[in-house]
Symmetry: D2
Subunit: 128 residues, 4 copies
Amino acid sequence: MNEHVMEFDVRDYEIDLQGIVNNANYQHYLEHARHDFLCSMNIDFAKLHDEGKDLIVSRIEIDYKHPLKSRDKFKVISSVHKEGNLRIVFDQLILRLPDEKVVVNAKVIGVCLHNGKLVKPETVIDLG
Amino acid sequence: MNEHVMEFDVRDYEIDLQGIVNNANYQHYLEHARHDFLCSMNIDFAKLHDEGKDLIVSRIEIDYKHPLKSRDKFKVISSVHKEGNLRIVFDQLILRLPDEKVVVNAKVIGVCLHNGKLVKPETVIDLG
Amino acid sequence: MNEHVMEFDVRDYEIDLQGIVNNANYQHYLEHARHDFLCSMNIDFAKLHDEGKDLIVSRIEIDYKHPLKSRDKFKVISSVHKEGNLRIVFDQLILRLPDEKVVVNAKVIGVCLHNGKLVKPETVIDLG
Amino acid sequence: MNEHVMEFDVRDYEIDLQGIVNNANYQHYLEHARHDFLCSMNIDFAKLHDEGKDLIVSRIEIDYKHPLKSRDKFKVISSVHKEGNLRIVFDQLILRLPDEKVVVNAKVIGVCLHNGKLVKPETVIDLG
């Protein structure tokens, strides 16, 4: 249904001694894109958390196809759908710019908690 | 075959606004444990990189079972095996201490590069 | 008065493309040592925050003397004293192990907030 | 002489359990702005490093004036000048957007190394 696109620059502190972006940083990029995506749907993480509601990641699958290097530009394309009663699935793709080479292909599964208990996503967020 | 265990403390800067360890940090813990594991087999990442050899992660699957919080202690248990001709698979488990509650269950698939080309792992590292 | 010592290992994800620990990570080490120091005095950051009390850093001065590299071990030595009515000063030293070469020399100035307002440190924490 | 301005968004993974950007992340912002500034003068860190040349930070002084929170936007204003024979000084200011409230005021002192030895900055970089 929805699709969200966000552009980034690699920052040198994200590069590790192999001269490429450290693996964990891709998860940061993906998270920032998801939060911006949710924010674009008027879902505010900090505010939800203050109400005892959290959308958390329960599983992540990342395929690393091609590494990003110093000064690279890239975009994260995210889409979201429900799966079953409890799961929200984000499909996310990182493409290097401007050549659109696939960098990372990820599937991120989230669930919603209210006061620490698993609840149906629609009681916490409205994915439209 | 081999098994490696490493203990850690949660550091407060790893906690995010939900009051739990940010997802990407588990990947840092897993990486540090893998590198220490490889180091215990006399495999030195920085030195390998200087020889044009890199062991890189091609895929990661992480199940987040229970979050870590401020001041928690935990251990990472890692084992490694070959899969097919080209893949090295690390099975990694994060357990909270002292109750051994499962925090994260991960499968990390690595491949070896020599001057950027995919090669058989045994030409880069000796897993014993 | 008090002195606190904590040992660390460099983690490879903390290394940047210059092959040395990225500058911001020293601040992480210093913070983790300070929090452990405060914790050893029964001061719990997460709990204080839930009570509306925060000890925050208002100024930091760091001299970078010698860089840490992959696999280095080091210790952080911290001491603390009050300065004037409002300021808490931490003097912190990072020494590489085992040769005790000085890596970083830091002065970190903190102040205490209660519900966002500056208060005397002794109303928030007891430095003994 | 020169001045450089770069805009950023706070990313949620940069927030810590106090609900504000963790101190070390400001150093990341400052570094990324400096590297972009140097890059705008055709100075490429990764390339210099491969030639055995590094511009490293020898001292940093940061005054934390007001914290950034989730979803805040901000800009980093950087200027640079030489000091004495060996030192390059960056004056950097972080201002929250759109109200331009001062977040951080920093002075960052750098020196140049060639094969690990201290050299005059003009042998490594041309600040124009």
